[in-house]
Subunit: 660 residues, 2 copies
């Protein structure tokens, strides 16, 4: 694989022990939401376990994968159907019933601050006319220029030949999910994510599946059952986003918000000294195979435009970027030479390609830079340091801040979501929660309100390196300052002393910050601080963060989260080894570890593993115990009696000090 390598093959095929299924929401056979289903061994007499699935068509044996053709543009019909009228009124498709529906309706969901289950969208009404029909116009789009791919010269990677129409919303048209949500309109994306978050449960099946787990959600409001209307209301309130550029029709929509499942982002991207396009596309496919909900392409160096094209046309998950990286390449790598025109050009270039969210470091204000002067590790955000350099060189306010309204106007026309960058995040625990960090957060709160006023979806990036006792206040401040816009944190790393293990140091911080209310966790790989992650590092990072996100869901009391744990634990207790592997986050590795010491097929049904051996297997002994169920029942009665009598101990508490 060399730098110019054109992507050809990626990892495909089902994840061990599961099959891909597609489930449609009631009344919407045209919307097909993907899941994975694990069927326990028949003898177990257990229902299949349905899992949230980020892996896209790559794990569907029926899908034909052709990277040059790109993925099927499943959102295209939703984006193209004409229907929404200028000014926000929508053209009904079937009768006038919807005309009576107030467009700017904002249902009152909050009841003493705690919304309950909100079945505002009962069955049968789902295929209502206000659901779709956006009719975005296609435009010619900006022509690709040589500098878009850096100084690639004869090492230019060919562009991805997949067909791509460029769409652009008009100023007088509803474009963003936020605008539709505020107008009371439920988009297909909203229907899709509601069904996805419910793991495909139907409203009718709700009762059976809901088992409200206990939990502490710190003021979040996770519903028992997610309705499309709930999704709409959360987006309208700014508490959730669906990052979904109208130029990324290949996307399988997902939602990011505190009242939904905690999500995971994986960063990929080459750097000037390492990696290639083929590697990066495979890293994307590999990352989503193991559970990345979104992927950020942080490529720098050569071929940046074309690599992004290959990734976008083949990505079923939202793609985020940091446009200032490419802008910097366009001015030869000198931050001082950056200006609004090159940045604006880059925004349009990437928005037309279909990037779903942009990290914008508009909070790195000139006045905050001196606050970093005495830090242990200064500024560790690449974008933050670039903007700080620019500000100081020109002694001017950050142009991203100065031009923020214009940035909003551009991003709104494609529904590119904001990921407001934390350019001043701490890079060591010594710098955690300092004046620079929180000054910027305050500014991000102000920018959030501006972006919302402009109709843009917004999430907020967070730290970084934070010791455990300083994590919670980060969430509290973010929620308060940024109006509950979704928080999207990098880690945090909780001690600094473990380079090569920062997927672990940070997954711990991530589990906690996710529990406290972070909506999406940006992974950290074992190579963080040391080098560019390879494919195995990407997997290690994603798995560590799936653990963190799931742990957060459990602790928040997500109603469906524990079902998978319980199914796996039952399999473990029953010695259904294959079921245990298949229900795990990484069946391949679980099986391989088991087989290291007990490789034979017979061992897959053995009632022990090599950890304790047959005689010392506590679970086998406990199973033996259960065989005495009759007797146990009798004992239970005795136990009650014993406890009712106060369960007095035979040994007096003050025993004699010595005994011969």
């Amino acid at each position: 694989m060399n730098v110019q390598a054109k992507p050809s093959a990626v990892t495909t095929g089902p994840i061990r022990g599961s099959r891909k299924i597609y489930v449609s929401p009631p009344g919407r056979p045209d919307i097909q939401v993907p899941f994975r289903e694990v069927a326990p061994t028949p003898a177990a007499n257990e229902p299949p376990v349905r899992l949230y699935d980020t892996s896209g068509p790559y794990t569907d044996p029926a899908a034909r994968i052709d990277l040059e053709a790109g993925l099927p543009p499943l959102r295209a019909p939703w984006l193209e159907a004409a229907g929404v009228e200028p000014g926000g009124a929508h053209r009904p498709r079937s009768g006038p019933s919807s005309a009576a529906r107030p467009l700017a309706r904002r249902p009152r969901l909050r009841d003493g601050g705690r919304p309950r289950s909100s079945p505002h969208c009962p069955r049968g009404e789902l295929r209502a006319p206000w659901l779709d029909a956006r009719g975005f116009e296609t435009v010619e789009g900006r022509a690709v220029r040589p500098e878009d791919n850096g100084a690639s010269g004869d090492r230019l990677l060919p562009p991805c030949p997949a067909p791509h129409k460029v769409r652009r919303g008009r100023p007088d048209q509803l474009v963003t999910q936020l605008e539709f949500a505020r107008a009371g309109i439920i988009t297909e994306e909203m229907v899709y994510v509601a069904h996805r978050e419910n793991l495909g449960r139907l409203a009718a099946a709700e009762e059976a599946a809901r088992r409200r787990a206990d939990g502490e959600d710190f003021g979040a409001a996770i519903p028992e059952f997610v309705t499309p209307e709930f999704v709409r209301a959360e987006i309208a309130a700014g508490r959730a986003i669906i990052p979904a550029n109208i130029n990324h029709p290949e996307l399988e929509p997902m939602i990011i918000g505190r009242n939904f499942l905690v999500k995971v982002n994986a960063n990929i991207g080459n750097s000037a000294v390492s990696s290639s396009a083929a590697e990066e596309v495979e890293k994307m496919v590999w990352a989503i195979r193991w559970g990345a909900d979104t992927v950020m392409d942080l490529s720098t160096g050569r071929n940046i435009h074309n690599i992004r094209g290959w990734i976008l046309r083949n990505s079923p998950v939202p793609i985020g970027t940091v446009p200032i990286y490419q802008a910097l390449e366009k001015v030869g790598g000198d931050p001082v030479k950056l200006d609004w025109e090159v940045f604006k050009d880059t925004l349009i270039e990437q928005a037309e390609q279909g990037v779903d969210y942009f990290t914008i470091h508009a909070g790195v204000r000139l006045a905050y830079i001196p606050l970093t002067a005495r830090r242990t590790t200064g500024i560790v955000s690449r974008g933050g340091s670039i903007m700080a350099r620019w500000c100081l060189a020109h002694h001017k306010e950050n142009f991203l801040f100065e031009r923020f309204d214009e940035i909003c106007d551009i991003m709104r026309r494609y529904d590119v979501s904001f990921s407001l960058g934390d350019g001043l995040r701490p890079g060591s625990i010594a710098d955690a929660n300092d004046a620079a960090q929180f000054a910027e957060l305050e500014t991000l709160g102000e920018l959030t309100r501006i972006a919302w006023a402009k109709g843009c979806q917004v999430m907020i990036e967070g730290p970084g390196h934070v010791p455990m006792h300083k994590i919670k206040v980060n969430v509290e401040k973010q929620l308060a300052l940024c109006g509950e816009a979704p928080f999207y944190t990098l880690g945090p790393v909780i001690p600094d002393i473990a380079p090569a293990y920062d997927h672990i140091t940070s997954a711990t911080g991530a589990a906690m910050i996710g529990w406290f209310g972070t909506a999406m966790l940006c992974y950290v790989t074992p190579k963080e601080h040391l080098g560019l992650p390879n494919r195995e590092d990407v997997k290690a990072g994603v798995i560590a963060y799936r653990i963190a996100a799931h742990a957060a869901d459990l602790a928040k009391g997500h109603p469906l989260a524990q079902a998978r744990d319980d199914a796996l634990s039952r399999a473990r207790f029953d010695f259904r080894w294959e079921d245990q592997f298949n229900l795990s986050l990484d069946p391949d590795t679980a099986c391989a570890y088991h087989d290291e010491t007990l490789p034979k097929d017979a061992h897959k049904v053995a009632h022990f593993c090599s950890m304790c051996g047959p005689k010392f297997c506590s679970m086998q002994i406990t199973q033996d115990l259960r065989a005495e169920a009759e007797r146990l029942a009798g004992l239970a009665a005795k136990s009650e009696e014993f406890r009712a009598r106060g369960g007095a101990l035979y040994v007096p508490e003050a025993a004699p000090a010595e005994k011969p």
Copy 2:
């Protein structure tokens, strides 16, 4: 390596980039406490960083390692010197000054619940006569029997030939650290651990080194500087233990308690289907190399006595065991055949060998067993399930509970500490914090008071599998029910769904429970639930748990913990790559990961890594910024002015909704 393999070689040599040093407490040149010291590159002009070191003589290039001879018995002079008189009075070695010292003095350390720094033991007084002199008698000891090594037959491993005298305390003699502490006597072990916890700081250097970090310690009382008297008082109060069998003179003493550094235990041990003695000794040496503070030998199967001998004679850290495992081997593996005599015999056998702490599952009471009947995963503790089986088969109360006072009497005579086993800990998050678990914990609290009355040191084992929101109450209940006896938890694993990654799932829970007050964390390896860990798994588990323990120390506000993070972060910011590697928990892997993409020596001083490349290195850009220090100083003044004026934003908050 086969099952009979006699240990021959283990991993030796310094840990990359550090040197072994020994530091004596003031006035005690005979006590030499080991540390590792990392000296940053001279150009950095940074002081050396002294690290707590569990690795024993194996990392000392000057030490001669001979597994057949065992480690030098450094505690022998302390244990042998005659001096403590029957009845607890001690024989002064130098003058009568100590006679005035009240023996049962318990200094009032608490001041509104929060002890301050307690310099009760000023310099110069340290070499006081009450420090040492125990004069334990040596006895012939129990003869080794064939069944001690199971049915080894011709596969019998030769015993470790290292010389070993069996010591036993008399009933009328002070034996345990708790007894000495209560008598107001500071043992050499207490002096040793105080110096060790201070990282060898001298009282005189205290001022300079103390930098009370901020933190939230949930009622712990971590002193700025640890004096031997503070150690004594904590042990006397039962809040800390020094597991140190008088038959384990090779031990480098360490302390386990909430007001000291959080410790890590690594489990090793063969099982009937896997591993050998040579492997287990190497696993012990390997585990302490990476930071295990204690090691539990959980061997079952053949050669169990002789493997333990090899481990003990070569272990500088406390060794724990679960004696019921060997007792079960002695009765042919059938729990029903267990009885008090075989168990008592096993206690004496192991106590004479030098085991420092025993897990005793005395809390698995007959009446609690039915409480596990409806659990998802029943009883998952091996010892717990064995005792449950016995109780039900005989329909009798657990004989460990019935005979608890006799067990205390035996353990006291060797100063074997109790690790009161949580035989009913949850094995899945579904079973966390249930009636069975907490019923047992209540009993463990009652047993703690009995053991204390008998003069025994005690710690309490804890779960297991617990979702994040249910962790804290475990510590709160344990502290309340068990009189603040040190808590020693296994994980907890916070979701069940990641077999093969349970070092990560559980390190997260461990970091949290350590923060809340757990004194020692029992590691979990990637092989947990799947098979017997190999050497690499042991390392992965230890490193993950060192991360957790250190994160807990930081969050609790341990005064010295952050020094290492800060030194590493400064090295990172200065691009001192070698220093960054050397200060990390695993210098070998950190360096290897860096070198994967940038292997040349020149890259070790490069101001970038392959993650971002030279142009995008935020830290390099920030360093450039700092070069403009003069200018920054001016800006700082402006920033103040700006903030004083209210830092008004240029953009009006309610921006127009659209812009052409």
